[in-house]
Amino acid sequence: MSITVALTLTSFAAALVIGTVVAAFRVSPVAPLRAAGAAWVEVLRNIPLSVLMLGFYFGFTKIDIRYGEFATAVIVLSAYTSSFVAETVRAGINSVARGQAEAARSIGLTFPQSLRVVVLPQAMRTVVAPLGSVFIALIKNSSLAGLIAVVELTDMADRISFDTARPIPAFLGAAVGYLLLALPSGAVVGLLERRAAIKR
């Protein structure tokens, strides 16, 4: 379970950073960056995580790109999750009133400045709840690290079930573990959402 938590937290931190940068690319006035951002999102979003995970682990070793199992899982999970973060943040950016960006430009801020100082801080407040859903999805997706021999919660349950030949207690234990992670996360997201809400 601690491995599931470690996978989730590390990958989410990385995915937040990558996703925000990609979202900024996708709304930028620079066409090649927009195209690169769109390609990143579409490719990662439309390929199953399992294919990415196994492809990276077994395919990329052929070209001498090799990391440990845990590092591979974190890389793949953060890349995959970043495409969802990017889409969410982009929706948040689009939800910021137009006048805000126009005001930022009219006082002479450049695009990166107005995005960083004016638009993103407001966008981030509105996307707390959807990002919370992305986080909870990531807790569940981290189970796929088991495919490449990272012994996280699901893989652990599978092994115990195999060793003891009693699947119900093993899997029920893992289920309780996931509930213990998902329910408090949901509560924390709700709390953050209330604190981040823009009061008008």
Partner: protein
């Protein structure tokens, strides 16, 4: 909505700056691609031998068989999950408190479970208790239970998103609960939910690849077998990824198209496509504020 979100017509100085950054970014991206290609070529990954199997029909037939199995499992699971989801949504909106509680428990529990855990349990756990069917049905069972919970939430949101006045009007003209549901509420809610349902289908299709772990011969497993048979693992994964990408890309487009059409016809009532429920609300707020 495009780049114009932040910048309307640019002045001459900003246009020059954008042009410079564009060229620099294009050069950088092209450079990265060139380095990647050189590195791959260096390792012999572009050797014709490694790609030749994918020019032969038997190999494709093998892979397409996998795709067919994937689609078959996804389709059957989707139909069953829609049934389960509908029952759950109706139960959660029912007047009977016990029914509401049970359905709520089901939805909350299975929504928090990783699908992989359910598949392991169905495919590797149930046989220990004497349940013996083909892997196909274990996979469909797990997909149905999981997606039934997700779709139940989508359906509930769709029904609740409808103005109360609709059902009140139906009761006012003398319809009963079921009549009002079937002929007034559900037809309207279904239209709003269609994009979200299609995008959940994309997710389900991707999730079908997890049938891999219980030796169901779907696309990923057959792709992997091809890779090890011809010694071209990387190429096999690339081809499998491309097949998934093509199918899912068009389905995603369909979902977005449906959502846009929905917005045009019925205002901002459609439920968000991305599976992140609050996005429709967010962008609707943004549009309203503009």
């Amino acid at each position: 909505m495009t780049a114009s979100v932040l910048a309307e017509a640019l002045g001459p100085r900003a246009r020059r700056r954008v042009a410079v950054v564009s060229v620099a970014a294009a050069a950088f991206l092209a450079g990265a691609v060139v380095v990647a290609v050189l590195r791959l070529a260096d390792k012999g990954q572009f050797d014709a031998d490694r790609w030749r199997p994918f020019t032969r029909w038997p190999v494709w037939r093998f892979l397409l068989e996998g795709l067919a199995n994937t689609l078959r499992a996804a389709l059957v699971a989707m139909v069953l999950a829609i049934l389960v989801g509908a029952v759950m949504a109706l139960a959660r909106l029912a007047r009977n408190a016990a029914l509401r509680g049970l359905a709520g428990l089901y939805v909350q529990f299975f929504r928090a479970m990783p699908l992989l855990l359910l598949i392991y349990f169905a495919g590797l756990g149930l046989p220990k208790y004497g349940v013996k069917v083909e892997p196909f049905w274990f996979l469909v069972l797990a997909l149905t239970i999981y997606n039934g919970a997700i779709l139940g939430e989508i359906f509930r949101a769709g029904i609740l998103s409808l103005d109360r006045g609709q059902s009140e009007a139906a009761y006012a003209i003398g319809l009963g609960y079921w009549q009002a549901m079937l002929s007034v509420v559900i037809p309207q809610a279904a239209r709003r939910m269609l994009p979200a349902i299609v995008s959940q289908l994309v997710t389900l299709l991707k999730d079908t690849s997890l049938g891999y772990v219980i030796v169901f011969p779907e696309l990923l497993r057959l792709g992997r077998r091809t890779g090890s048979a011809y010694g071209n693992t990387l190429q096999a994964y690339v081809v499998v990824a491309l097949i998934y990408f093509t199918v899912n890309f068009f389905l995603s487009r369909l979902a977005i198209h449906l959502e846009v059409r929905q917005r045009r016809r019925y205002g901002a009532g459609a439920i968000a496509v991305t599976g992140v429920e609050d996005l429709a609300v967010l962008s609707a707020q943004g549009e309203a504020r503009r």
